[in-house]
Each structure stands twice: as C-alpha cells, then as structure tokens.
C-alpha cells in the first residue's frame, strides 16, 4: 500500500510484530517523496522503529523483485513481519527484470489457536519479551544480506539506500570523485548491519549519508559510530534536501555542498534568452466526467441562492474540483475524513451551512461510521456521495458499488438503513434534477436540522468510453454551432471540459480528438449552441453510461 495507507493499517501493523507470523509476511510500503499524488511525504521507514519491524529498501524494479523473494525467507525464518519500502522511482519505474521460477503459492492454510494471537495484556507482555528476542536474531540476519554492497575503496564514504544510491552511483562515476570514494549501498535500513558498516567504514576520512526524506540511516549510523568509539565526521545532507525526491542534479549539489568540491556537469541547455510564459496545467476532470456538471451546477446554486457554505472535501478524483474553475472544497485532509469534519463544522458554524463531498469507494472505506454519527448526533449537513461505481482515481479498482454478478451495495439503502430521513439519488448530468434535490436538502438541514444525503450516480466516463471502444460503438463527438455561439465563454471557462477551447472571436470549439461524446456540455450553454455531429442513439449510450 502507499505510505498513508499504512497509517490506516498501523493498528494491525503494530500488533503483527507482537504476535509474530507463522509464514512469510512482507508489507510493501510505497512512499511518495515529492508528493506526486499524496497529501504528505512521510517517511514510512519510521514505522519500523516504533513497531520493531525490519525495513528494507530496493534500488530498482529488478532488485525489488529479488529482495521481495529474500524477504519472504527472512520473514518466515524469523517468524516476524518485514517492511519492503519503496519510493516513487522504484514503484513507478519500468526496468528489465529477469523472470525466475515461481514458487508454489498456497492459498489455503490452517489456524492453530495460541495465546499469542489474543492480545490481552497478560499475553501481550509475553509477546513483547519474545519480540525482543526475535529482534536480536534479525540484527544478525541483516549483517550478511547480500544486497548491502561496497563499491570502490576511496577514503570518502558515501552511504546511500534505494534510488538515492542510483543517483549517487551515476553522479560519482561520471565525476572526478570516482577514485576518491567508497560507495556503500544499503538495502537493510533498519536495523542497520552494524558489523558490516563498522568494518567498511573504520578506515575512511569522512562519511556522507545521502537518503531521501528523513535522516533515518544517518541517525542510526551516528549512533553506531558513537557506540563503537569511531571518530569520523558524518556529513548530513543540507536541510533543504529533506524535502522532495532526489535526482542526479540534486545529489550532485549535495556532494558539492557537503564535500566542498565543484563537480563538472556534462551538458547544459543553451542560455535562456527571452523565456515564454506558459499556462500551468493542473490535472482536470476528464472529458465526460460525471463530476464536472455537478460541481458546475453546485457552484451556480450556491451563488444564486446566496448560500454560504463550508465544503468539506475528500480524497478522490473530485479533489480536483478544488482547482480552477470550480474552487470548491475548503478542506481535504485524509481519506474518508470529509463527513467527520462536516459533523464538526455543522456543530460549530452558524453563519454557514456544511456540505461534505465524498466518493463511493472513500465512503465505503471510512465514511459510514461518520454518517452514523451525523444521524445519531443530528449534525445538519448535506452529504453528497459521488458514486461513479468504481475507484477511479487509483486506476479503476472495483468498489462495493461496482456491480459484480448480483452483488452491489447501494449507498442510498445503506443511508436509509442507518436512519437518514432525506436520501435522494440523482444523475449528475441532469442538473435540473440535482438542483431540485439540493434545494430540498437545504430545507431539510435548515428546518429539520438533520443530515441529508444526495447520491449522484453515473459511471466513470473513462470506463464508459473504453467499453464503447471495446464494443466498437461509434463515439459521436459534439460540435458548436458557430451561428448560435456568442463567445460568452461559459463552456470553456466555467464548465471547463478539456475538449472545449476558445477559438476565433472567443467562440467555442470542440476538439474532436478529445471529445468522447458524453453530451454533458449541452446544458452548460445558455444559447443551445452545442449539438452532436450527427444524431445520437440515446438508448445505446445509456447502456454504457449507467
């Protein structure tokens, strides 16, 4: 799971170190330095420290595979969980991997009851003592890990794990440092292989530690040197390199700053003459996204009705509504936090109403307990559940609202069953229907002081579109009638579908390369200028879009 996923799983994680495991248990934690798609860049190697779970880092995809195999062995031999921690440049890199023989996978097992699995205090105390015994074995195991390596025998040691090591290796080998350094590549980052490090570092003049994010290896290394009475200066990366991922360029800077040398750079771009101002391109709702008309209309309703609202948002595709032109959602803090925060807002705010926005999979993940609180404690907020029937943002994994044979959890029935009195289901493309229901929900929270739930349901456009392509159904793009268009810009500035752009005289044009024929833009045009290129068979479309 990704780094923040382990926060959610941390309760179970801690206990797994106490119970120990009977078979191999490898937890992959994929951290995200630079926050390419996350809310923070926490360094999950620290989970190892608080839980007594060893942490290992691979350098690249090939090593991730080899190390995983090894870790299953380490885990089963020591009867203890292990963490394989990757960062963006391992998780999101394709590289050559040599395929070996697959071990036989066992999917069935047996369970032998033992007191250690029942973490009541009397058992937990025994577990804690056993855990420390296992830990001492693990410390020995990592001493001989073949993935920890030494390159070169210079007097300047550079200690580095993970992809940071790739950057270090390439920087050094292309520089004048090549004969002066000794590179120590670490795969076991917690606990550190103490004897291995002492024997390889005791004759160097200085040590530079280069790792992404926090100085976890560095802290431990300083402790090891101290305990072994080795007095060699350890140079930390400057503070500003704790933030964001490392690259060859940043590693070169770190080496220059810590070692006080100037390293040559192979090539640079031509001197910049007259820069050009480029518009930023944040991610946007896809063409056809069911959320676009909903946020477009919600913004319009709030303005028209002069409703002041605090919008508690959540994590999913709809987080994108924070950006231009919708600028909706005042808080997005964690997966599934919207309704809970909404409960708080609606309790303390008198001058504004509270709207919580949550997607279907996020709702199933952590929204339900907070919804029950809303009902039971009478928190008057409007909850809009955006149900696109799949976990779209992370790559279309199924959610409990994805129909599978006869199974499908209906959010509206769930809401009703916990006692929500106002539950409406709307098609977000039908903005009239949405408006009508939203105004009613507004009445419910104001007059009845109760929670109101609106489920906005329509399939993720990408899925609908892919299915149409798969089945060979013709996708008919829409077009703008240039006689009717007056260039008001509502469609390209406020509705902001990526397929619509401003052309000559500010009139709107639709790019047939990007239009997927959803037709949601039709209602955004006050002049009825948008129409399909040729007649659309609505019945066929319905099969794909719902």
């Amino acid at each position: 799971m990704k780094h923040v996923g382990l926060n959610v799983a941390s309760d179970a994680l801690m206990s797994s170190a106490y119970t120990g495991v009977s078979e191999g248990f490898v937890i992959v934690s994929a951290d995200d330095p630079s926050m390419w798609s996350s809310q923070n860049e926490q360094d999950n190697r620290f989970y190892g420290l608080i839980s007594y779970i060893p942490v290992f880092e691979p350098e690249n995809p090939w090593e991730a595979k080899e190390l995983t195999k090894k870790l299953y062995d380490i885990s089963s031999e020591n009867k203890h969980p292990v963490i394989l921690r990757t960062t963006t440049r391992v998780s999101h890199t394709r590289g050559p991997v040599r395929v070996g023989e697959l071990r036989k996978i066992r999917v069935k097992g047996s369970f032998k009851p033992e007191p250690k699995y029942v973490l009541v205090p009397s058992n937990a105390r025994v577990n804690r003592i056993d855990l420390l015994k296992r830990w001492s074995n693990i410390k020995t195991t990592v001493e001989n890990l073949e993935f920890n390596k030494v390159y070169g025998d210079g007097r300047i040691a550079i200690v580095s794990p993970s992809t940071a090591f790739s950057h270090v290796y390439e920087t050094v080998y292309k520089s004048e440092l090549i004969d002066k350094v000794r590179l120590i590549k670490l795969s076991s980052v917690y606990p550190l292989p103490e004897k291995f490090l002492v024997s390889n570092l005791s004759d160097v003049e200085k040590i530079v530690v280069i790792e992404e994010l926090e100085p976890l290896v560095e802290m431990q290394l300083r402790d090891i040197l101290n305990r072994n009475d080795i007095r060699i200066p350890v140079l930390s990366k400057p503070y500003e390199y704790r933030v964001f991922e490392l690259t060859i360029d940043r590693v070169r800077e770190i080496l220059e700053k810590t070692l006080g040398v100037a390293l040559r750079k192979e090539m640079s771009t031509r001197k910049i003459e007259g820069e050009i101002k480029l518009p930023p391109r944040p991610p946007v709702f896809c063409a056809g996204c069911p959320y676009r008309p909903l946020f477009f209309e919600l913004k319009r309703i709030l303005a028209k009705e002069r409703v002041k609202a605090v919008i508690s948002g959540d994590i999913g595709c709809y987080s994108l509504a924070y950006y231009d032109p919708f600028n909706m959602q005042h808080t997005i803090v964690e997966m599934g936090g919207s309704i809970g925060l909404g409960n708080g807002f609606s309790t303390v705010l008198d001058e504004a109403i509270t709207i919580s926005i949550i997607g279907d999979s996020t709702f199933f993940h952590a929204g339900i307990p907070a919804l029950i609180n809303s009902v039971y404690n009478r928190h008057p907020q409007i909850i809009i559940v955006l149900d696109n029937m799949v976990t779209a943002m992370t790559g279309h994994q199924p959610s409990p609202s994805t129909p599978r044979e006869d199974r499908y959890v209906k959010i509206e029935r769930l809401a009703e069953s916990v006692g929500v009195r106002y539950v409406a289901v709307v098609d977000p493309f039908n903005i009239e229907e949405f408006r009508k229901n939203f105004l009613e929900a507004l009445r419910v929270i104001k007059e009845e002081r109760e929670v109101a739930v609106i489920v906005a349901r329509r399939r993720c456009a990408l899925e609908a579109y892919w299915n149409m392509l798969r089945d060979g159904v013709e996708v008919i793009p829409y077009t703008v009638d240039q006689d009717k268009c007056i260039g008001c810009g509502i469609c390209y500035n406020l509705f902001a579908c990526p397929a619509i752009y401003a052309g000559e005289n500010k009139k709107a044009y639709i790019d047939p390369e990007l239009c997927i024929g959803c037709g949601s833009c039709v209602v955004s045009c006050p002049f009825n200028a948008i129409k399909p290129l040729k007649p659309v068979d609505q019945e066929t479309l319905k099969k794909y879009w719902f």
């Binding site: 290796y169 080998y173 060859i248 771009t269 518009p279 991610p283 990526p498 390369e513």
Partner: protein
C-alpha cells in the same frame, strides 16, 4: 549504446506511457537495458505528463539530469516548451504539431510562437503532423503511434536500432483492435520524419547520439 536519454512529454490521456513502453521494449529486444520512469497518479486527468526513458549500459538512475536528454518526444506544444530545459541544446525535439490550451485558463499563445521558442533553445526540431494524420484515419488517440514512427525512423537513420526489427516489435505490441489502421499511422510517421531528415542533420546527430 552507452547512454541515450529520451524525454516524453504531453498531456495525460495522450498515450505517453504506451509510447514510452514501446521504446523500452524495442531497446530491450535489442539487448540494451532501458528504464522508464513516469510521473504518475493524476496523469490520466489531463495534467502535464513527463516520462523519462533512459537507455544504455551506463545508466543507473531512472531520471534524466537537466540538460542531458538527447531526444524529446512531445505530443503537445505547450508541454514541449515546458520541459525543453531537459534537452541538450544540440539535441533533437520531435513534436506533434498540436496545441491544447489548458481548460479554464486564459492564454494568448499561438502554436508558431511555441515552435519558435523551442527552436531558439534546441538545434534540431522536427514538427510532425501526428494528430492531424491520426484524425484523418479517424483514430484521434493514435497520435502517439505516429510519433513512434517518427522516432523509429530517426533511430534507424542513425543506425542505433533497425527499423525492420522495430516494425515487428510494434506490430506485436499494438492491440489487435484497429491494428491495421494503427500500422498505417505508424508508417505515415516514419515517412514524414524521413522527409524532414537531411543528411547534414544525420551527420550532426551522429556526433551526439551514437555513443
């Protein structure tokens, strides 16, 4: 091949990842290691996308250092301009002649202005009619296939990889649906690139690319 760095840029949804994967497969099949590192997560949602493709035996880091890309392939003009600083000034930019303004943002940029800008930064710039041709074949999403054609032709003319072997690999990787039409688009890309490459270009590029 010691080191060849190719930066692929464009907008999420234009098929940069597929394009990059094909480049990687071509080199792997030629027994040359390749790394493909993508910026990810939100890449499907119309945001800017950069993929680093690093090829060769001396490559260890998956990310191209600034100013050290030999080739940039871009599916869109604004995104080509945005990341041009990654390219060596004596490098090659192969760019789809298509500008897609970010939705909801006002801009007065003209395609020609961006082309001029790129030319002011990089010596070899080839503007290909990828989107236009793909649309003529009613396959607007296949502009990336056209660009692969352009790259394959360049690498073949530089004798880095063979066109014949690349053809086989690409045909293999294309999804069976619309394969025939995509092959036509790919062939068109090769043809246009070939017509743009002068022999001076080739001898000039051999100096930086044939290491």
């Amino acid at each position: 091949m010691r080191e060849l760095n190719i930066l692929v840029t464009g907008i999420g949804g234009q098929g940069q990842l597929f394009l990059s994967r094909i480049i990687g497969e071509i080199f792997l099949k030629n027994n040359i290691p390749a790394y493909i590192a993508e910026t990810h997560g939100l890449s499907q949602r119309g945001g800017t996308v950069v993929v680093h493709v690093r090829i060769g035996r001396e490559v260890r880091s998956p990310l191209i250092p600034i100013g050290e890309a030999h080739i940039m392939i871009s599916l869109e003009l604004i995104e080509a301009s945005r990341y041009i600083y990654y390219l060596r000034s004596d490098g090659v930019a192969i760019i789809n002649n298509k500008m897609i303004p970010p939705p909801g943002k006002k801009t007065n940029l003209e395609p020609q202005q961006l082309i001029d800008y790129v030319r002011s930064r990089v010596k070899h710039v080839y503007i290909l009619n990828a989107s236009k041709t793909a649309l003529e074949y009613k396959m607007p999403i296949s502009a990336n296939i056209y660009m692969i054609g352009g790259l394959v032709k360049l690498l073949d003319r530089l004798e880095i990889i063979s066109e014949e072997l690349s053809d086989i690999i690409i045909k293999d990787l294309l999804p069976s649906r619309d394969r025939e039409i995509n092959i036509k688009i790919y062939e068109n890309g090769k043809k246009e690139m070939n017509s743009l490459l002068s022999s001076e270009d080739i001898s000039d590029l051999l100096k930086i690319l044939s290491r």
